[in-house]
């Protein structure tokens, strides 16, 4: 389903909505709220004073009447449990502190001030595009800062509960459950925050273009490409991205030879970029009367959908080999075909893009060139090359065609990622777009690879 307006992943791969997690509205902040704001959530301090005097319960947090809880106070919350809670609180406070330092809190505050100064400049709206960008950065910085402060506030609340319980003679079960709930939610929120940090590549925030091409092997491979197309469409729709199949070239008997998908929404590229590579399927061929076991491949390419003004890459004309699909025959007035495909190869690196979805040749050429630039920028970034000239073409081929995942339908059911080792036997869910665990595993894998790489360097 395509969603107009701000396409934001409503529940991203990292989010398993809790029972009282608020749904964030359209156009809301980038990062989910740290801890649910439950309308019936009593401020802990107020509750502490009241519960110490044991008034009739008015708390709506627990559906169980207070007196029932009271009865099992000591049973449920033995001192042992309290100690383990106290330990958890210590751990999470430490984690919050670590994350606040790692996220560059001070730097962030300074950044925010700079951006606010910029936005209040009288000439701010003179450059609309730049203004939009500044505002978007401003929102990001504010959200992040707010989130980091909320983490701290939540940790402090839990600490207060522990401190008060220590002062008091008896143990207040509801209070401790409250603290336990805070810790649980906070842990989830911190996980989520960390994952967002994994998406800090220069293009991760952008929308994505995904190209799926059937490998050799005729109808089976073309059918497999079609299955993958469906899988990614479903995934994108679940993230509430705006998904458009912009080009689709049908196979002769079934399936597709290739397709191009545009996924508009924040962080689409960051999440989906790890899907690029070769996807292998093993199954009984539905196109073969004998139902023989068949292995097919499809290639997936992912590129960021970059705004035109960020593609300030100059590529010398002589480095480009631009070819157009030929209508054949005498051409010109003799022929009328809507064949306007454009294919551009960057000669030094061998990187090739093709664009067929636009309806005029010039439009296809413009779009193909944009895609080529985006692709070269991404490759340069991957290879840590400071300019296009430094790209090693041989490495591109090896990296972009690497087999990344196996989907075995027969003789057993298993989807296994070659890189991360993550696997599941619930193949149907995966084909229905349940890619979260795979994407999450890959992002963590990539992050740790980068981290250990940095350590090696230092």
């Amino acid at each position: 389903m395509e969603v107009t307006g701000v396409a934001r992943p409503s529940c991203c791969l990292y989010l398993s909505p809790g029972p009282h997690r608020p749904r964030l509205g359209r156009g809301s902040v980038l990062l989910p709220l740290a801890v649910p704001v439950n309308p019936s959530y009593d401020p802990p301090l107020a509750r502490i004073s009241s519960s110490s005097r044991r008034p009739p319960s008015t708390s709506a947090v627990h559906s169980v009447p207070d007196n029932q809880l009271r009865g099992s106070d000591s049973a449920e919350w033995a001192m042992q449990d309290f100690y383990s809670l106290r330990r958890e609180v210590e751990v999470i406070s430490g984690r919050v502190e670590e994350i606040r330092v790692a996220a560059g809190l001070q730097q962030l505050e300074k950044e925010l001030m700079d951006l606010e100064a910029k936005a209040s400049d009288t000439a701010f709206w003179d450059n609309r595009a730049q203004a939009q960008q500044t505002l978007s950065s401003l929102t990001d910085a504010k959200d992040k800062l707010r989130l980091l402060n909320e983490f701290k506030a939540q940790a402090e609340e839990a600490e207060t509960v522990v401190a008060l319980t220590e002062e008091m003679e008896s143990i207040d079960a509801s209070l401790l459950q409250e603290a336990s709930g805070i810790i649980k939610d906070l842990n989830k929120a911190l996980d989520r925050f960390e994952l967002t940090e994994l998406l800090s590549g220069p293009y991760d925030k952008e929308s994505a273009v995904i190209t799926i091409s059937a490998g050799a092997g005729g109808t089976d491979a073309q059918d497999w490409a079609d299955i993958l197309l469906r899988m990614y469409v479903r995934w994108g729709e679940k993230q509430r991205y705006k998904v458009r199949v912009v080009e689709k070239s049908a196979g002769e008997e079934a399936g597709i030879k290739s397709a191009t998908l545009e996924m508009e929404g924040r962080y689409a590229y960051g999440y989906i970029s790890g899907e690029k590579g070769t996807h292998r399927i093993v199954r009984q061929s539905p196109f073969n009367a004998k139902g023989l076991r068949q292995t097919s491949f499809s290639g997936v390419e992912v590129m960021p959908l970059l705004p035109e003004d960020s593609l300030d890459v100059e590529i010398p004309e002589e480095d480009l080999d631009i070819s157009f699909s030929r209508a054949g025959g005498k051409g010109g007035q003799n022929v009328n075909k809507v064949e306007t495909a454009v294919r551009i190869t960057h000669i030094p690196t061998g990187v090739t893009v093709r664009c067929t979805e636009e309806r005029s040749q010039l439009q296809n050429k413009i779009k193909a060139l944009s895609r080529l630039k985006a692709k070269l920028l991404v490759i340069a970034e991957e290879q840590r090359a400071s300019e296009i000239k430094q790209i090693r073409g041989d490495a591109v081929k090896a990296e972009w065609g690497q087999q990344i995942r196996n989907y075995v339908f027969h003789p057993y059911k298993l989807v296994k990622d070659v890189r991360t080792g993550h696997e599941t036997s619930d193949i149907n869910s995966v084909m229905d777009g349940e890619l979260e665990p795979f994407i999450k595993a890959y992002l963590k894998y990539k992050y740790s690879a980068v981290m250990s790489g940095n350590n090696d360097l230092s």
């Binding site: 049908a250 005498k330 051409g331 007035q333 003799n334 009328n336 439009q363």
Partner: protein, 365 residues
């Protein structure tokens, strides 16, 4: 890449663009719809026809099957489109006919899932869609006539029966003119002529990309239908002040500017009469012979244009003509050298994107 999208006109962006120049906006956008409203490009018609997703899917499946049944038969018989090209056209037809503002997008139609009861709004009745696609396949009616438009360069032009559909090859004439002006900036603010303008494609392309504020294009055509279509397109791009349409054959309506033209561009009829019978059905059966048939060897009008260029161009003026290919180009090169000794300089042949020598260009001495 977003910019690229914006170049494709939707009615909305078009109006916004026009409103940048208020006087034109008043004339084009707010004026009551002209009587030719039904003939406008499909994608600009109002989405007043309700239907359901399931009915639309049913039509799409039917059209899909009809298209795949063609296989390579058209290709083998006369070089026409094969199934895969027809399917691409079908998708574009869907894009043009479907109102997406309600959240229904083409891929919902082509990826059947649920929601089939959902209402959709179309720019043509569903019955018309069956008729249109039958015309496309059974009568070989050109796709551009079916949807009433041709995407050409960054333009979307209205086309209809009686007007030649501008070809992708011809897009290059605008680039050739731009190159010429780049080297000779004084041509930028001169008077230009697009002879046999048809839909007005070249005139609009040159006016928008090549000419400065002082420049002007005269677009001539003999056909009243062509002039009606060109006039609509010129108006749609807000170029009424920059392009003047004149009725008549080639240079005939331009006597008042003889010897004063800074540029002459044309895609004249150039198909040899004998070839007319063997043309791809879309072309031979549906496009106007007047715009295609160039006489016995296809050079009748090209020669006429060369003669005209020698007397209508100002000194230093530029010309570019599209031809039928290598034979024509060679012939014209020799003809110009022989018959107009000393009249032209830098005469050259330029190949199209397929590598076929296609254009003859040069400057008046």
């Amino acid at each position: 890449m977003q910019l690229v999208h914006n170049l494709r006109f939707t009615p909305f962006t078009f109006c916004r663009r026009l409103s940048a120049t208020p006087s034109l906006a008043a004339r084009c956008c707010s004026s009551p719809p002209s009587p030719t409203i039904a003939a406008k490009p499909l994608f600009l018609r109002p989405p007043h026809h309700p239907s359901t997703l399931s009915d639309l899917r049913q039509w799409y499946s039917w059209a899909y099957l009809l298209s795949t049944s063609v296989g390579s038969s058209f290709l083998l018989s006369d070089g026409g489109p094969d199934s895969s090209l027809l399917l691409r056209e079908l998708r574009w037809l869907l894009e043009d006919v479907l109102d997406t503002s309600s959240g229904i997008h083409p891929h919902l139609v082509t990826h059947p899932d649920d929601d089939s009861h959902r209402k959709v709004w179309l720019r043509a009745e569903i019955g018309d869609l069956y008729r249109l696609w039958r015309q496309r396949i059974e009568e070989r009616k050109p796709f551009q006539y079916v949807v009433g438009c041709e995407h050409w360069r960054d333009l979307v032009l209205w086309v209809r029966e009686g007007v030649l559909i501008p070809r992708p090859e011809t897009e290059m004439i605008v680039d050739l003119a731009r190159d010429a002006v780049g080297k000779n900036p004084f041509l930028r603010d001169g008077l230009w002529a697009d002879l046999g303008t048809g839909s007005g494609a070249i005139a609009i392309g040159v006016s928008r990309l090549v000419l400065g504020d002082g420049g002007k294009v005269f677009a001539t055509d003999l056909s009243p239908v062509a002039l009606e279509v060109a006039s609509y397109n010129v108006c749609r791009y807000g170029l009424e002040d920059a392009i003047e349409l004149r009725k008549g054959s080639w240079f005939e309506p331009l006597r008042d500017v003889q010897g004063k033209l800074a540029g002459v561009v044309s895609n004249p009829p150039y198909i040899p009469t004998d070839d007319m019978l063997g043309l791809q059905a879309e072309v031979g059966r549906h496009e106007p012979g007047l715009a295609l048939d160039g006489g016995v060897d296809g050079t009748d009008d090209l020669l006429h244009l060369c003669h005209g260029a020698s007397s209508f161009l100002q000194p230093g003026g530029f010309f570019a003509f599209e031809t039928n290919g290598e034979k024509h180009c060679q012939f014209l090169m020799e003809y110009l050298a022989r018959e107009f000794k000393g009249s032209f300089r830098s005469v050259d042949v330029v190949s199209d994107f397929s590598g076929i020598p296609r254009f003859v260009i040069g400057f008046r001495c």
